[in-house]
Symmetry: C3
Subunit: 145 residues, 3 copies
């Protein structure tokens, strides 16, 4: 049995930000030595998310607009959670939409994104994204075989 778990720390410049972590995770898969297994990446913070979608600036903008429509930040008084002195209730809701974690198969020592990925090598367009609904994010990345 091989396994490797690491905690990763990222900072985003603003209240929200998107970080492409594909390269980082690929490096950890190599380091782990896992050939056939599973790779879990999850946000530790409950106002951060990890998801796989398109590395395209227009879409990231669309996510921002959409998330704000589904779970508006303002007025902050609409949320009971904010009576605790925080103002981030909306971030807890947005994270349910974007997702806490992704699990990816490891095949022959590499993240398995399927044949289309491998043949067209458009890796820039299908990536892990960590979305920070806060300024700092810790991710847990774990590979097991």
């Amino acid at each position: 049995m091989k396994s490797l778990t690491e905690h990763l720390w990222f900072e985003v410049p603003d209240r929200r930000g998107y970080i492409n972590i594909t390269g980082t995770i690929e490096g950890l898969v190599r380091k782990s030595g896992v050939k056939e297994g599973l790779c879990l990446v999850n946000a530790m913070h409950i106002t951060a998310a990890v998801f796989i979608n398109d590395n395209e600036g227009g879409l990231l903008h669309d996510y921002e607009v959409w998330l704000e429509k589904l779970a508006p930040h303002e007025p902050t008084t609409q949320y009971h959670h904010n009576q605790t002195g925080e103002d981030n209730a909306d971030a807890h809701l947005k994270r349910q939409i974007m997702g806490r974690e992704v699990v990816v198969a490891i095949t022959n020592g590499k993240l398995d994104f399927g044949p289309w990925w491998q043949t067209t090598q458009t890796s820039a367009r299908q990536d892990y994204w960590g979305v920070g609904l806060r300024r700092g994010i810790t991710l847990v990345a774990s590979m097991t075989q």
Copy 2:
């Protein structure tokens, strides 16, 4: 290879309810003997959810309001699914928002929630939550190494 899978049964007092299952899952991880691996917890019922978020009463209230806004129960006749004699179509939709499952890394025999969790010990604020969109819930908890 070590593994343990158990089925857990919970009852909620009303049509919807939130249950903190962190302690139960921690006990199963110990029982499994898994040192490095993955822990899957999923709802068996398709109108129940498992998620990790904040153990804070105001936020749970906010989830209730939010879920009802995104997928209202009334009028029940708006959903074709309810023509089957059920009235829970909204619960099937709400579960898509809250999520069917969580996967957590097991590191050194414990659920790995990251360094922040470990140092501040605010375990009460980041928990598994099973949300019942029905009165009884079965969860599947599985640990593998």
Copy 3:
């Protein structure tokens, strides 16, 4: 350690479609020889989803109406992503609601859906569903022990 990963290709007749893949996945679990472990099924395409919910036509209709309400296709010009020449920004959003992946425990060589599933055998009502927000879908199915 046993493992099996396969890439599965499906075509849907229209822009969106729902495919019941339970039988296919059950066959792969048998083929893998995994007795105790995890089964991951994820969509490769970033505008496709995999989820487990109810195999009931009315509900699938309700999902269509609901997803269109939460993330409307029209007007396509409302999304910056569509300035790339695509018109599928809404599908990227819808997929966040429906989910990229499911992970299911394998117990005693079978997908573990819990005791209720096993005793009432209503397998037709709780299924993997691949939802295509495009005409062709590749899924990654991976079993590990």
